[in-house]
Amino acid sequence: MSAGLLFASVGVILFALGVAGVLLLGHLLRRILAFNVMGSGAFLVLVGLAQRNGIADPVPQAMVLTGIVVAVAATALALALVRRLYVLTGKIELPQDDEG
């Protein structure tokens, strides 16, 4: 098993972990963490799988750089929303049901 494939597998696990976290965690900050874990997983798969033969490939690497910046943008946005929600409601969780 090459390093690429190994880390790609790690990526799959991280992705699954992240998705499960987003689905199951109620606390919004934790959900943001989970989303970041999920994203990192996808990034690892992108580079790791492409480099499973051991040759570095700049194309997925550049994609991941783009992806990391997008992820941080999304994270900051999510944090801003969470903090705003906390200011308004004093809660860091989503209400169970908005309207049936």
Binding site: A8, R52, P58, Q61, A62, L65, A80
Partner: protein, 218 residues
């Protein structure tokens, strides 16, 4: 119940997907070879930078738009300023920050320059700039932002606009972002310089805007 289902689903997914990855034949297209082959006419020597700013420069253009957009959204949501007080920064931290900040700026410039040849470039340089700003903020040498003035907005959007202008300018004599090989080098450097400043400001802004409720007293 939901928990069990999700965990089971995730486990199945992991097993299936890793299994599928293990018996995957080699890809039929090797883009890294194409990148190496076209590197000389890309204007830079580092392949990742070549992909980021030339071969797939359009991705980067949109990505900067995403970043700028995130900042605008944070501005648009608005955060109530409150008067709560953060514990005062220690003098040691302040001294450290005063020392480190100029150094970090030098590092950023180096990273920007070196990006053409080896790992580094606008993103990393911008991140270092942002880190410097965050450090200054934590040391209470730089206040949190309220709503940015014109000059700051110009700084935030400037890098993106330079990028956009170069891209659009090139459209008039060919395709979008089609650099003439001999001018590619300086054009990319121009874009990267603009991006470094703007990325630094935006990334710092993400932090400074979010923590503005603490900084409004200064």
């Amino acid at each position: 119940m939901k928990r069990l289902l999700v965990v089971l689903g995730a486990a199945c997914f992991v097993v299936l997907l890793i299994g599928a990855m293990l018996d995957l034949a080699p890809a039929s297209i090797a883009l890294h070879a194409a990148v190496s082959a076209n590197l000389p006419s890309s204007g830079v020597e580092h392949p990742v930078t070549a992909v980021l700013l030339n071969f797939r420069g359009y991705d980067t253009l949109l990505e900067i738009a995403v970043l700028l957009l995130a900042l605008i959204v944070i501005l648009a949501i608005g955060i109530d300023s409150t008067t709560d007080v953060r514990p005062a920064a220690s003098p040691v931290l302040q001294a450290l920050a005063r020392l480190a900040a100029p150094l970090m700026i030098v590092v950023a410039v180096y990273l920007l320059w070196v990006g053409a040849f080896r790992p580094g470039g606008a993103f990393q340089a911008g991140a270092v700039l942002a880190a410097a700003a965050v450090l200054l903020h934590l040391a209470e040498l730089l206040p949190g932002w309220q709503s940015p003035g014109l000059r700051l907005r110009l700084g935030l959007a400037g890098g993106f606009l330079i990028f956009l202008a170069v891209a659009a300018g090139l459209l008039f004599q060919g395709a979008l972002l089609e650099y003439p090989p001999e001018q590619a080098g300086w054009m990319i450097l121009l874009i990267e310089s603009g991006l470094t400043v703007s990325l630094g400001l935006i990334l710092a802004g993400l932090f400074l805007l979010l923590s503005r409720d603490d900084g409004d007293r200064s």
